[in-house]
């Protein structure tokens, strides 16, 4: 478990992060500004610093620059709602290990933290400085054997938060099936639509990590502005061309999945990534690749978005390798390769699919086994719109609590929520409502309860416009003995956190409070 410094001027974000990281066993210190962060880091050593980009006073990047002077091996994550391509590049130049765009899912941050901490002590974080120095590797068409150790590809695979998918490499010489180095994958929610990234470059080690981190960070920023494939990849191409030396030659699949329209808009560039759609009861459908060879070599590209209809049950299969001599790249081979491959393969298992590709590639091209191949299978299950939404607005009165509970009961019946789970949900909701009634308003005030059911997850939100509170003064109750329980302090929040899967509290003194709670409902009884 690590000692982590959390620097952010937004208290609710800082508080939520502190809670989830502490729950994972980390020791977490917080600071409200870059200046305070520098002071704390002078007093004690940290293994990881997570910082907001923009804060009053010195920025997160300026603070990290100072910290890195003293502790070059310090691992860092920048998160921001306002990042530009330039700030992402600057962060990577400083050796920042990851760049997350707000709002992010807590699970994404947890996974980023755990992957960065798991990377060995020798791994100093992906750095554009390293990328700029690795001329030999980038110029070399052949790829040396995979470098050993867990750090090699560590920051490249963040868990996709939105779509069911699996990703694996073919079995390597050590019997493992880790995704190949130099290949990266990400799924980003773009306010309804979801963006799927799957890419590859011939770079290795810290360079590969730096490049994938840069691309993911830059695209996450771009997606906030315009998630359409063409503008996003033109912006990415320009950035890579402008900032990366030597030219990184990136192959990339970028797909924008629109759940409402059931459409996948995509661009597939470069010869190290290939893709196909597999529909139930139908043959494979290779995805069309752009004629533009790769991203990052020239400032301008002619790109044409492709569109394909998708529906529930379709699967997107993406194959990637950092090897330049990907055996499906010659056009003649590719056309016959995909149909041959796709009908006979177990589509649920990316590892099995990777093995099949290896086998066919070896037969067809007489090359050695593709030990670096990575395969991702993504279920294109466009998220259905919320199945149910209820909203109850009331002033504090006993009768209204009963109304809220009966609405929750109806939702529970509709979603066939098991009784025990229903009791947990009711308990958590009542705790939040009681908190709002007891603490938000000196007299009486309005409370809104929202209940949303979507994708077998129930979201409960309790909103008041009352006095709010200072999250910094919140401490979990002392449960050694029963002293903590006999006082009012923090008991409800503690219980809510224990009962729900995710909890986030937004509050500021004088500006009200929102308690967001989410609980997965599992599969409905048959």
């Amino acid at each position: 478990m690590a000692k982590i410094l959390l620097v952010d001027d937004e208290r609710s974000v800082k508080w939520a992060l502190q809670q989830i990281l502490a729950a994972d066993g980390h020791t977490v210190e917080t600071a409200n500004s870059g200046e305070e962060g520098l002071l704390k880091a002078r007093e004690q050593a940290f293994e990881l610093v997570i910082s907001d980009l923009r804060m009053p006073g010195i920025s997160g990047l300026e603070m990290i620059r100072e910290l890195k002077k003293r502790q070059p091996s310090l691992r860092t994550i920048i998160c921001s709602a306002y990042g530009s391509m330039e700030s992402v590049v600057e962060a990577m130049r400083l050796g920042v290990n990851d760049f997350l765009v707000k709002p992010f899912k807590m699970a994404l941050m947890k996974e980023a933290v755990s992957q960065i901490l798991v990377a060995g002590d020798t791994e100093m974080g992906p750095s554009l400085r390293a990328l700029e120095l690795e001329e030999e590797l980038a110029e070399s068409p052949a790829r040396p054997a995979r470098s050993p150790g867990p750090a090699a590809g560590a920051p490249e695979f963040l868990p996709p938060p939105a779509l069911p998918c699996a990703c694996a490499g073919a079995e390597d010489e050590r019997g493992g099936a880790a995704p190949g180095e130099g290949v990266f994958f990400d799924v980003v929610e773009a306010g309804g639509p979801q963006v799927i990234l799957f890419g590859s470059s011939p770079l290795l080690g810290p360079c590969a990590g730096a490049l994938s981190c840069l691309i993911r960070g830059a695209l996450r920023n771009q997606i906030l502005r315009d998630p359409r494939p063409r503008p996003a990849l033109l912006a990415l191409n320009e950035m890579l061309w402008k900032f990366c030396h030597p030219r990184p030659s990136v192959s990339l699949f970028y797909g924008l999945l629109s759940p409402q329209e059931e459409v996948l808009r995509y661009l597939l560039i470069g010869d190290r990534v290939r893709g196909a759609l597999r529909r139930p009861e139908a043959g494979p459908e290779p995805l069309a690749a752009e004629t533009s060879p790769v991203l990052g070599l020239f400032p301008g590209l002619m790109l044409t978005e492709r569109t394909v209809q998708v529906s529930q049950g379709d699967r997107l299969v993406l194959l990637g390798t950092a090897r330049v001599e990907f055996p499906v790249s010659p056009p003649g081979v590719e056309e016959s390769f995909m149909p041959q491959l796709l009908p006979e393969t177990n589509w649920l298992d990316p590892r099995e699919l990777a093995r099949q590709v290896q086998k066919i590639a070896a037969e067809r091209t007489n090359t050695q086994t593709l030990s670096e191949l990575t395969v991702t299978v993504i279920e294109l299950s466009p998220s259905p719109p919320a199945e149910a939404h209820r909203e109850v607005r009331f002033s504090s009165a006993e009768q209204n609590l009963r109304t809220v509970l009966s609405e929750l009961g109806r939702l529970g019946q509709q979603a066939q929520i098991p009784t025990d789970l229903m009791h947990d949900l009711t308990t958590a909701l009542v705790e939040a409502v009681n908190n709002a009634q007891t603490h938000a308003y000196p007299e009486e005030g309005e409370i809104t309860v929202k209940m949303t059911l979507s994708n077998r997850e129930l979201i409960l939100e309790v909103i008041d416009e009352g006095v709010g509170f200072d999250l910094q003064s919140y401490h979990p109750p002392d449960l050694n003995g029963y002293e903590g329980l006999t006082t009012d302090h923090g008991r409800s929040i503690y219980l809510i956190q224990q009962l729900m899967d995710r909890t986030l509290i937004e509050t500021r003194p004088g500006r009200g409070t929102i308690v967001h709670m989410a609980k997965g409902l599992g599969t409905p009884p048959s």
């Binding site: 006993e398 009791h423 009542v430 705790e431 050694n480 029963y482 006999t486 008991r491």
Partner: protein, 132 residues
Amino acid sequence: MSIEIRETESFTALDLQEDLISSPSHPEELRKVLEGLLQAPAGPPHVLINFSRIQMVNVHSWGVIARYAREFRHRHRDIKLVGLNARLQAHFAQLLHLSEVLETYATEEEALANLAPPVSRVERNILWKKSP
């Protein structure tokens, strides 16, 4: 009324009739009953709280029970909990760590077998004055 009260020679049983969650006034109602029993000049020394009819308890009510368990113990009396379902038992023991300070039993008979030996009211008052 969400609490029914029964008296025997050695204990008062509080049969909870309604989930301690469906009304904001429930914890206060429970507090008043326990305070009344604590201050009563006569009556059985111990209290059993019977949860067998309820499914949900809010944290405020748990806090009231924990607080009065301490008060009763200071006076050499006892509160024991009976009939918690598995889910409430999990909240009680694992989430709130209350099993370190309060005992729970499946039935009243089991709880009775583990009650402290009766202490006369006069003796009890003397002990109370001596306790810190």
